[in-house]
Symmetry: C2
Subunit: 189 residues, 2 copies
């Protein structure tokens, strides 16, 4: 996996004019992060949204001292603490790099600026959000009404790469089960 340019990814959605491309390239700042580096700490404002060109991030928080993973973003995906980012409020979640990663990050204020300057990006924002909403809905249903094993199978099938690149402890909490249970499910395969 050699990574994916964010411009190319965005151009799936709307036609990117040369002028917009230049602007996007200027606004989405390249950033390299090392494995385990924290990008956002719970309690801080979440000021940027990042596109993962190469690497892996996770969002997580603590519930009763337990580390609970909330999402994983692999190559070609956007990552931010959506809730906090949209409302520009304090984030309840932390964001951390799972691997050395190459990101392209856009600051909230610059995104608002972009929306004003290139109104067609409103459309872009809306459509990306529709995609992420749909995913979240799927996940909610998965968690609410499937058994641990069913959730495991579903993730295994829909995002096998997660199993290759993310430690099982994180995957377990993401699936809403304990590490021990995940281990037993795998053993029973």
């Amino acid at each position: 996996m050699s990574g994916m340019s964010f411009i190319k990814s965005l151009s799936r959605i709307i036609e990117i004019s040369p002028a917009l491309e230049v602007r996007l390239d200027g606004l989405f700042r390249e950033r390299q992060v090392k494995k385990n580096e924290m990008l956002v700490q719970a309690g801080e404002k979440c000021t940027s949204i990042c596109f993962v060109e190469e690497g892996a991030l996770r969002g997580f928080y603590f519930k009763d001292d337990k580390d609970i993973s909330n999402w994983f973003a692999l190559d070609g995906e956007f990552a931010t603490s959506f809730y906090a980012f949209f409302g520009q409020t304090k984030s309840y979640e932390n964001i951390q790099a799972l691997e050395n990663s190459r990101l392209r990050c856009l600051h909230y204020d610059e995104l608002q600026q972009l929306y004003r300057e290139f109104p067609e990006t409103e459309r872009l924002g809306r459509i990306i959000l529709e995609e992420y909403y749909s995913r979240l809905e799927e996940r909610l249903i998965s968690i609410q009404f499937r058994s641990a094993k069913e959730r495991f199978d579903h993730l295994m099938q829909s995002r096998p790469d997660v199993f290759r690149r993310v430690p099982l402890g994180h995957i377990a909490s993401y699936l809403g089960i304990t590490q021990e249970t995940l281990s037993r499910i795998r053993a029973a395969q």
Copy 2:
């Protein structure tokens, strides 16, 4: 509760010009539905998004013959099978009126038309979606990491009107528990 005009509700978000107001008023068709009437059946395409001016709707589906409520939309809220609506694919959920309701419904194609005709509505769409995304995220966390009682308390506190207007059986499945468990939680209060 005498209901809420959808125009007024939208104008919280962006300035609605007179021209846009006229257009919105024309595109959002008024529709009255009776209690228990089905608006969408699972397997159909979901062609409209509805604003509930007065009344109550729910989304639900069947899992192993059990009727599972997915959401409730009361006065002032939008309702659709988001997943199916965005992608214009078959809906996995049914939508039904819980009360006699007065709706304003917008067809998908007309929404796309609206986006083209009034680009500022892209912004409207994006912002509404941000709100609904945030809610869904909250709900996911609630379901994944709170006990039945905690989820009950949270809903009770955040949307007490749901308890007044929706049968307990529907609320139970929405909370991801059985009706019996919900009953016991209430009894223990």
